[in-house]
């Protein structure tokens, strides 16, 4: 059975941090169409802070996620950043004390993160936020335990979510106010998640 350990998590974070250099202005631009244009800058800063955070232990995946959650929470108070920290905290709780986490746990971890983010942010599925992309990944990974398959499915799921919501309006946060003008635009949070999935896959 395939598992992941602290070193895998770290490798993925480093890849994501590297990817943000390219993605930063693109995501800012996507956010600028709906509001304040800071998604990219914020995520670049947050992921770089996570990347630099020393994991409490090299053995406990949960402790690693917990250190990441704290680093993220210190680095920002933005909506998306705070939800990201919330998700990392959920991952930390779900992997606490484990040196190797079965890949099959990813689906329930994403599902729990999604639920925690919904509770914190008050958005529902279908509102066209990062949640819908996370939900898609949670569902796509159900029962999957092969790392390559998991990566491929996560990329496909997020791309499909982008496509599915492209023609629908944003229903929460700043973007809500643009109403039907958001039809045809990607949600910046969802786009960020999809781009990062692709980058780390």
């Amino acid at each position: 059975m395939s598992t992941f350990a602290v070193k895998d998590v770290k490798a993925i974070v480093s890849k994501a941090a590297a990817a943000m250099v390219e993605l930063e202005q693109e995501l800012n631009a996507a956010d600028a169409k709906l509001g304040d244009g800071d998604t990219g800058g914020m995520l670049a800063r947050v992921i770089s802070a996570i990347d630099k955070a020393a994991a409490a232990s090299d053995e406990d995946v949960g402790a690693c996620f917990s250190a990441y959650a704290k680093a993220a929470a210190v680095a920002t108070g933005s909506s998306l950043g705070t939800l990201f920290a919330t998700a990392l905290m959920t991952f930390a709780k779900g992997t606490k004390g484990h040196e190797a986490v079965p890949l099959s746990e990813l689906a329930p971890l994403f599902a729990k993160a999604r639920d925690a983010m919904m509770a914190r942010g008050g958005a529902a599925l279908g509102d066209k936020t990062v949640l819908d992309a996370i939900d898609a990944v949670a569902r796509a990974l159900e029962g999957v335990s092969d790392p390559l398959v998991a990566k491929r499915l996560a990329v496909e799921a997020t791309q499909a979510a982008l496509l599915e919501f492209h023609g629908r309006p944003n229903k929460i946060g700043r973007a809500r106010m643009f109403a039907d003008q958001t039809i045809g635009l990607d949600d910046p949070g969802m786009l960020a998640f999809a781009k990062l999935c692709k980058a780390v896959a």
């Binding site: 600028a32 709906l34 304040d36 244009g37 933005s78 920290a85």
Partner: protein, 331 residues
């Protein structure tokens, strides 16, 4: 857009350093230095008023810490809410033993972080929440609780701060703050965008002759975008929209704040005020304590907002009570 700054990542901390170095009445505090509090600390026996918000809006938010105003303010990065640790610090540092009102503008990140902070401290400190929701362009009257908070929050700060200084308890301060928010309406108009430190592009683009009515202080979309009109026409539309949403129980006294978003000259704010005040008088409203200036900005964004705060006797006397902060002084 050119910025007088060093590394973009240092923008906020360096600005806070300068702010507190130039103004000894306030100091930086909190684990990450992202709380501004009164130099003398929380006053025992007074209800605390804690706020917070993103950077880039000076004098808002941190600039309103002072006597008769805020006790503390947590501050996030530019246009980002304050993080949860700073919100916790702001609440703790505002606590004089009689509880703390969390009074801040209605934005997603700010709400999440103040909520978490309150939850984490709920065994130690009693807190209440009042959200600034004055921007009438940001949601319909039916969904007024979803409205974002903009320049009108200054009225809530002033009134809640004054109420707390009277020795009122947390519920009373909370009720008065909520009343101030309920009595306040704002609408903005944007002429030109600002640019985030480190960002390659302005937060939005607007045609050479275009303005956007109802735009938010982070460039959130407004009601219409079209050719620039005369100042009087713009003031007319803004006031018409505000007056159409006057609270049901509104009396005849009103305070007005003509606020500059950053790059709009004071001369132009006074031109707006001139017409607006005449219009209010024509509508048989009496102007009390008018405010004209840059109270809530978005860095170098050009444009203005107009806020009306409909006053009853309590709000009026709280608005007139003495107050002092680096950017505003009353009495």
């Amino acid at each position: 857009m050119k910025k007088l700054m060093n590394a973009p990542g240092d923008f906020v901390d360096e600005a806070l350093d300068g702010l507190t170095m130039a103004n000894p009445s306030i100091v930086r505090d909190g684990e990450n230095g992202r709380v501004i509090r009164r130099a003398e600390g929380a006053r025992k026996g007074k209800v605390g008023v804690a706020s917070g918000g993103g950077s880039g809006h000076l004098p808002l938010f941190t600039g309103y810490v002072g006597q008769g105003l805020l006790d503390t303010c947590s501050i996030g990065n530019v246009f980002e809410g304050p993080n949860v640790g700073s919100c916790m610090d702001a609440i703790k540092l505002a606590n004089g033993g009689r509880g703390v009102l969390r009074l801040y503008a209605n934005y997603g990140g700010d709400r999440m972080n103040f909520d978490m902070a309150g939850e984490m401290l709920e065994d130690e400190i009693r807190t209440t929440t009042v959200l600034g929701t004055d921007d009438i362009a940001s949601a319909s009257p039916e969904e007024s609780a979803k409205r974002r908070g903009v320049a009108g929050i200054v009225y809530a700060y002033k009134i809640a701060g004054a109420k707390a200084e009277t020795g009122a308890d947390l519920d009373e301060v909370t009720a008065t703050a909520a009343k101030a928010v309920a009595a306040t309406r704002t609408i903005g108009v944007a002429l030109a965008p600002c640019q985030l430190p480190g960002s390659a592009k302005p937060t939005f683009t607007l045609g050479d002759d275009d303005i956007e009515m109802g735009m938010g202080i982070h460039g959130e979309p407004g009601i219409w975008r079209n050719k620039l009109k005369s100042a009087d026409e713009i003031a007319d539309e803004m006031l018409d929209r505000l007056l159409a949403e006057a609270p049901k129980n509104a009396g005849s006294e009103v305070s007005i704040l003509v606020n500059g978003l950053g790059a709009t000259p004071l001369e132009e704010l006074f031109i707006l005020y001139r017409h607006a005040s005449r219009k209010l008088t024509a509508a048989e409203l009496t102007i009390v304590q008018p405010l004209v200036g840059n109270f809530v900005t978005s860095m170098e964004m050009a444009g203005a907002s107009i806020s009306l705060c409909f006053l009853d006797e309590e709000l009026k006397s709280m608005l007139a009570a003495p107050a002092y902060c680096p950017f505003w002084r009353v009495g």
